[in-house]
Amino acid sequence: MRTAHRRSFVLLAATAATTTLAGCATGAADAGTHPTSAVDAATTPQEAAPDASGTDGAQADAPAVYADGTYTATGSYKSPGGQEDVTVTLTLADGAVTAVEVTPEATDPTSLVYQTRFASGVAEQVVGRALDDVDVDKVSGSSLTSTGFMAALEEIAAGAAG
């Protein structure tokens, strides 16, 4: 039961984020408040859900079970620039949300910027390219680390090998 609860929270959170995305984009005049309000809305269901007693609306009443699959929905909202759409794709596997993809479809450039800020892409399988084949000035990741740490790590590796 506990697991089922958690799954539904995740879905709720995702739904809330989507709803708020549409909602706060309407108030496009104040760009600065967008991210905060969306996240507050996204977090609230997660916090509210554990003791949800039905006061939070039908979705929080009971942990619903969702069939696995990919769900896509397009929502419309009015922005100062006119009607805008945003498409959300959710992937459920084993009852849990494994991917959320928000596709910005705004035609108004301002709305597109706001939608894009929230949108995430999913690369199914990242493919590394040889450093020599990519034109870069610097790298970020595992290039350097504490010298003392690395020395200790080598010592352990040597010990393990011996």
Partner: protein, 285 residues
């Protein structure tokens, strides 16, 4: 940018500063003084640091002004990650073997971070009992910012300050930064065009030791995280980028969106990546 390169070692990491003109000795001295002062407050690997004193005696300590920004960020990320991220993971890291002696052997079962031990007003912290703080999740980023700020104070307006892959850029020409494949320094999985912004990354391979042990802990359990293997964040400041890069090991990107304006890449153990479409760059797939 015509390049002059200054390299040095500080807080256990190799640093590189690229500037149009070589740094003067006076400027470099001031930069090194900034890093030394930071280390003297936050290092849990030296016995004379403020953090070491708090670990020994607890009590009330007034830290430098920068501590307010750093600990404010930690408070926000603590809330967003539902308690998974806190500077109170010091003892948990030591327990797993990430200690001053680099023992790298667990000395007991995982240790969840204590809660409610430290209270704070601005940069004044009070530890009700001895407690080991670790600001490794955002501290290096903040030091990158402080070094950059010192450069500007010294009249240096264009630079890349790079502390082992955590960096901030300022100037008209973007730098192209490759995102390294965890565990393979010869390959990159994406490129970021960095201009007037900071990029920080975190990967579990760089500070990993046997059997799934590494330096990103879930404070609630004291256990290393599992699903995410590397993250990168582009943000206005390196402190925020660094903190969010760690938070992305512990929380869904959507939950972190409102903390500060940023874009990100989150690489998972199964090889798939999630990233902000607004990323100033590309993820290869």
């Amino acid at each position: 940018m015509p390049r002059a390169e200054t390299a040095f070692e500080a807080i256990g990491t190799g640093w590189r500063i690229d500037t149009p003109e070589p740094l003067t000795d006076a400027t470099l001295e001031r930069v090194l003084a900034v890093t030394e002062a930071y280390d003297l407050v936050w290092s849990r690997f030296r016995t004379d640091s403020v953090v070491a004193r708090i670990a020994r005696d607890g009590g009330t300590h007034t830290l430098p002004a920068h501590a307010t920004d750093l600990l404010d960020l930690y408070d926000v990320l603590d809330a967003r990650t539902a308690g998974a991220m806190t500077p109170l993971v010091g003892a948990g890291l030591e327990r797993l073997g990430y200690d001053a002696a680099y023992r790298l052997q667990p000395s007991g079962p995982p240790l969840p971070a204590p809660r409610g031990v430290v209270t704070r007003t601005g940069s004044t912290v009070t530890a009700a009992r001895p407690v080991l703080l670790d600001v490794g999740a955002a501290g290096k980023g903040q030091l990158v910012d402080l070094v950059a700020s010192e450069l500007r104070a010294c009249g240096v307006g264009e630079y890349v300050v790079d502390a082992g892959g955590d960096m901030v850029h300022r100037g008209p020409d973007a730098v192209r930064v490759g995102l390294q494949v965890p565990g393979d320094a010869t390959r990159v999985l994406g490129v970021v065009e960095l201009r007037d912004a900071a990029l920080c990354g975190s990967a579990v391979d760089r500070r990993a030791w046997g059997d799934g042990l590494h330096h990103v802990l879930d404070a609630r359990t004291g256990l290393p995280t599992r699903d995410v293997v590397a993250t990168w964040v582009v943000a206005g400041s390196a402190m925020v980028a660094d903190g969010l890069a760690t938070a992305l090991f512990l929380a869904d990107p959507d939950v972190l969106q409102g903390v500060a304006e940023h874009t990100y890449v989150q690489l998972h153990a199964d090889g798939h990546a999630r990233y902000a479409l607004g990323l100033p760059g590309e993820v290869f797939s």
